[in-house]
């Protein structure tokens, strides 16, 4: 069942994402029948899934949505801004429910309010489509004076859509030549509402044949067959003379969509781990072949090397997904927020095809939403203010993803008022985050970056939107935890760009491997400011604490040998690594540098799990297992 639930949650979120985008598109293009059909179909699919798992709230809500889309589709209702609002709200609730179902197996989300909103917001289309009058035809039955069977059937109460079942059953009788007439008639069975669960049929033919047929249906509770003398009967049949035009055009499917297979991410991770181990064993083999193996081993080993490299490339690529799945949520977010703020925004999204590790794509949604809200709330000026400044009335916001080296950069930029570094610095002094003295030594960029300090919030009054208790500091930390970095580029009155630099994959990081005694440790490159020879810097003591002075900057000194508890003579230390992560910025003294390496991170288990100075373990090319230092915790 867990598997089903996971599949359900996965597919639901995919569909909701699509619905979101389609609703935004529909607002722009309210008469696009293809979109309306897609929306209907998606609501329908969700309903089926929810009902199957017994998720009543979700089934109810999607049913209402489907109903609404159906009305729009058939021209009984029209797309309005209010409708889009309602439907977007529905999606929000569905997202919440789906999470609840996944986590708790049930939900407290109530659908009553939204359902009544859906039902009350009915508009009649302007076009007065002349509905063809129903015409009545009267069919009379000719067979008189014959002995007939009269079959009284009571439908099982548990049967779903009983009128349709009756319709099928009567048609079967007719096909086999048993049917004469019935109450209700075959046509009347098409009308669900008039159907009462009881059918009386006049038949001709063998009693046994009919009885068998009835028994094979599994839909009747009780039945009674009796012989009657046929009487002429008048049977009213209504026939629909208006045929609803069906959209028969096969829907165009997005050409870009490729065949894909769903796979559990744990399985994928196992494959990645195995490939990583394979790489290591291959390296050992190469070493053996080159040192002690005979010539004939060389060629196959070289081949294995190539194949494994390809395999590694593909496997790492499997985890990559386009950022589009996260980006597609933004138009709605921005629409809602700007509407709430009464600001006009022109949004441009570029580079949705840029691919990142699945784990990263899933995690950057919240930080990006936060940055976007900040930008809308504090960055973009009000319309009046913009007019006064001679800026275009409509603010501009761009969200761009692109590759840069082995990183992906995601930029959120606006043409708003920008961030005034001096103003930020003053606030920081007021809040006691820095002293006035310190402030004087800061560059404008450093002042702006104070905005990311813990405990900083620029909003004069904390607004409902961006002031939700999480500041930019939390966003920054979050990005750093993903081995990424956050940068702010801003110019007063011209705008702000917040850039996230993200690694392509979660699993592999560039790192510096250092040595202490006989032990090796890896330090992620993003955490390293610079590496210097100990002799390039000045070491001294201040307040009985060791410090290192480099380029007129002072760093506290930390000895790696102390942290990892490897006894050695500190005079043998040759290098200082200036590390910076989060609020920590210090000089880490190491004995030697082994080199740079791409390492595959593995989570620590067992005894080392709780040792906070290590973030994981990595296996190096020579098969040596080394621990990865978390410099923020040293």
């Amino acid at each position: 069942m867990d598997e089903m639930l996971a599949l359900f949650a996965d597919e639901t979120s995919e569909i909701l994402g699509q619905l979101n985008g389609q609703l935004i598109d529909l607002e722009q293009d309210p008469e696009n029948t293809e979109l309306i059909n897609d929306l209907f179909r998606h609501a329908h699919t969700l309903k089926g899934m929810a009902a199957t798992l017994g998720f009543k709230e979700m089934a109810q809500l999607t049913h209402e949505m489907e109903d609404l889309m159906d009305k729009i589709r058939s021209g009984k209702d029209i797309v309005s801004e209010e409708k889009i609002d309602i439907l977007l709200k529905c999606i929000e609730l569905l997202e919440e429910m789906s999470q609840d179902y996944l986590n708790d197996g049930g939900t407290n989300v109530s659908v009553d309010e939204i359902v009544s909103r859906i039902r009350n917001d009915k508009e009649t289309p302007k076009s007065n489509d002349s509905k063809a009058e129903e015409t009545e035809t009267i069919n009379s039955i000719s067979n008189i004076d014959e002995e007939h069977l009269r079959v009284e059937l009571h439908m099982d109460k548990d049967i779903q859509m009983p009128s349709l079942r009756a319709f099928i059953f009567l048609n079967k009788l007719k096909e086999k030549g048993f049917y004469i007439n019935s109450q209700p008639s075959i046509e009347e069975c098409k009308d669900e509402e008039k159907f009462k669960g009881k059918i009386t049929v006049q038949c001709k033919g063998a009693e046994l044949a009919i009885e068998t047929l009835v028994n094979n249906e599994f839909i009747f509770d009780t039945f009674n067959i009796s012989k009657v003398l046929a009487k002429p009967q008048v049977n009213k049949e209504t026939s629909e003379s208006s045929v609803v035009a069906q959209d028969k055009n096969a829907k165009k499917k997005n050409d870009k969509s490729k065949q894909s297979v769903r796979i559990q991410s744990e399985k994928l991770d196992t494959i990645i781990n195995l490939v990583a181990e394979l790489v290591i064993e291959k390296n050992k083999l190469e070493l053996l072949v080159n040192t002690s193996g005979s010539e004939e081993f060389k060629e196959p080993t070289a081949k294995i090397d190539r194949i494994i490299n390809q395999l590694q490339g593909i496997v790492m690529n499997v985890r990559m997904i386009p950022v589009a799945s996260t980006f597609k949520l933004f138009p709605k977010e921005i629409r809602n927020t700007s509407k709430e703020l009464g600001k006009k925004v022109n949004l441009t999204i570029l580079g949705e095809d840029t691919e990142l590790d699945r784990g990263i794509v899933e995690h950057i949604k919240d930080p990006l939403v936060h940055i976007i809200r900040n930008s809308l709330d504090h960055g973009l000026e009000s319309t009046a203010e913009r007019i006064a400044k001679g800026k275009p009335e409509e603010g501009s916001m761009k969200i761009i993803a692109r590759y840069e080296g082995n990183q992906v950069v995601i930029e959120v930029s606006d043409d708003g008022k920008g961030i005034d570094g001096n103003f930020i610095a003053e606030k920081a002094i007021q809040k006691g985050l820095i002293t006035a003295e310190q402030s004087k030594t800061l560059t404008m960029k450093e002042k702006v970056n104070l905005i990311c300090s813990p405990g900083f919030s620029t909003a004069e009054t904390v607004t409902k939107l961006s002031g939700r208790g999480v500041g930019l500091d939390a966003v920054k930390k979050f990005i750093e935890d993903l081995n990424g970095t956050l940068e702010i580029d801003t110019k007063v009155d011209e705008g702000t760009t917040v850039s996230l630099f993200l690694p392509l994959t979660l699993g592999i990081i560039q790192s510096m491997v250092v040595k202490v005694g006989n032990e090796k440790f890896a330090i992620p490159l993003p955490d390293i400011e610079t590496l210097i020879d100990k002799n390039q810097a000045e070491l001294s003591i201040s307040n009985s604490k060791e410090i290192l002075i480099y380029k007129e900057k002072t760093y506290p000194v930390v000895h790696l040998c102390d942290i990892v508890d490897v006894p050695m003579d500190k005079n043998d230390e040759e290098f200082a690594i200036l590390v910076k992560k989060g609020s920590k910025n210090y000089a880490l003294m190491v004995q030697g540098i082994v080199g740079q390496a791409e390492i595959v991170i593995k989570n620590l288990g067992g005894a080392l799990k709780d040792v906070k100075q290590y973030s994981g373990a990595a296996i190096l090319g020579d098969g040596y297992v080394c621990l990865i230092l978390d410099v923020a915790m040293c």
Binding site: M4, L7, F8, E11, D38, F40, R41, H44, T45, K47, G48, M49, A51, T52, L53, G54, H63, E66, Q160, M161, S163, L164, F167, I168, N171, K190, E192, N216, E217, F218, K248, A250, K251, K253, R262
Partner: protein, 119 residues
């Protein structure tokens, strides 16, 4: 063994139906995600019974019924639909489908429907 073709655009639904059918000893002829696939799988796998979802991308279930019936007039097709889609189901029945089942499924209902169309 009775071979069944499953058609639904939701992987979840296909999975669900498959579980039920396999448990009952049916053989799965194939799984289609839309009408176009259903028609081509019908042709290549020649199932005894085809389950067709009504609302699907590319080609909906009703179109698919028509196409399959063109290929094989004796095709046994069961429509799969949510409650309340009376008109659509009637359309499918008139196009040649023999029966229908309603989502959410009860295993017994699926089996009954298959028995009915084979009976």
């Amino acid at each position: 063994m009775t071979k069944i073709l499953i058609t639904d655009d939701a992987a979840f639904m296909r999975h669900m139906v498959k579980n039920i059918l396999v448990k009952e000893g049916f053989e799965i002829a194939g799984e289609a995600t839309n009408g176009v696939e259903a028609v081509s799988l019908y042709q290549s796998t020649k199932p005894d019974v085809a389950l067709l979802d009504i609302t699907m991308p590319q080609m909906d279930g009703i179109e698919a019924v028509k196409k399959i019936k063109e290929i094989d007039p004796s095709a046994k097709i069961i429509m799969v639909s949510a409650l309340g889609h009376q008109a659509k189901i009637i359309e499918a029945l008139e196009a040649g489908a023999l029966d229908f089942i309603v989502k959410p499924f009860e295993p017994a209902r699926i089996i009954e429907a298959i028995k009915r169309v084979q009976g």
